[in-house]
């Protein structure tokens, strides 16, 4: 009698696991595909950013993940992922982001180009939080 109970319980657990695995397979595959797409997008964005950076900025970005930009007025800004810092005594930090979302490297490229060409517009758009 107890042997039948063990066999029955095992069969039930195995069947439940099979059903669960089938239910989860779709979402897991979907998440994996999304992650792969996102990684590919980040790589493309990095390649585009690197093609725009000067040799000095390129080595900063490769070594530390940020790079400095000097504007036409002579101000120096550090473009970091998710923030920009003005490299003066006050070290003001600015938050400015792309809408809609694009990979981080594309956002850093947009900030670099805006700083180089229109610092006033950058300052008018960005939110200063420090």
């Amino acid at each position: 009698m107890s042997a039948w109970l063990v066999v029955g319980t095992t069969a039930f657990v195995v069947a439940a696991l099979v059903v669960l695995a089938r239910l989860l397979a779709g979402p897991v595959r979907c998440a994996h595909r999304a992650l792969t797409r996102r990684r590919r997008a980040e790589l493309r964005a990095k390649a585009l950013l690197l093609s725009w950076l000067s040799p000095g900025q390129r080595s900063q970005y490769r070594a530390r993940g940020w790079f400095d930009v000097v504007t036409s007025t002579g101000s120096r800004y550090r473009v970091c992922p998710r923030k920009v810092v003005r490299m003066d005594a006050r070290r003001s930090a600015y938050c400015i982001e792309a809408a809609p979302w694009v990979p981080e490297a594309d956002q850093m490229l947009a900030k670099k180009l805006l700083l180089e060409t229109d610092e006033r517009r950058f300052l008018a758009t960005a939110y200063r939080y420090r």
């Binding site: 797409r37 590919r40 997008a41 980040e42 790589l43 493309r44 964005a45 390649a47 585009l48 725009w52 000067s54 998710r82 938050c95 400015i96 982001e97 792309a98 809408a99 809609p100 979302w101 694009v102 990979p103 594309d106 956002q107 490229l109 947009a110 900030k111 670099k112 180009l113 805006l114 180089e116 060409t117 229109d118 950058f122 758009t125 960005a126 939110y127």
Partner: protein, 77 residues
């Protein structure tokens, strides 16, 4: 000669090309400019000093400015 315009997006970017001798492909690129301007996006080319220079539909020269990038619209965070 062929020109390229990189349009940044969620996939990283999409590249479109135009033939400097083909008015049809140039018209298509002009439409990319118009769409970008409508969306509040800016278009840049790399100047001789390596820095960016803004290009608008009015200042764009399809033969001279053959490498362009459309950046995303930026908003305060």
């Amino acid at each position: 000669m062929t020109g390229r315009i990189h349009i940044t997006n969620a996939q990283g970017d999409t590249t479109r090309t135009w033939d400097t001798a083909d008015p049809e492909t140039i018209r298509e690129t002009e439409e990319v400019f118009r769409e970008a301007q409508r969306a509040g996006r800016l278009v840049y080319r790399q100047a001789e000093n390596g820095k960016g220079e803004q290009v608008t539909l009015e200042t764009w020269d399809p033969v001279e400015h053959t490498e362009l990038t459309v950046t995303p619209r930026l908003v305060g965070g």
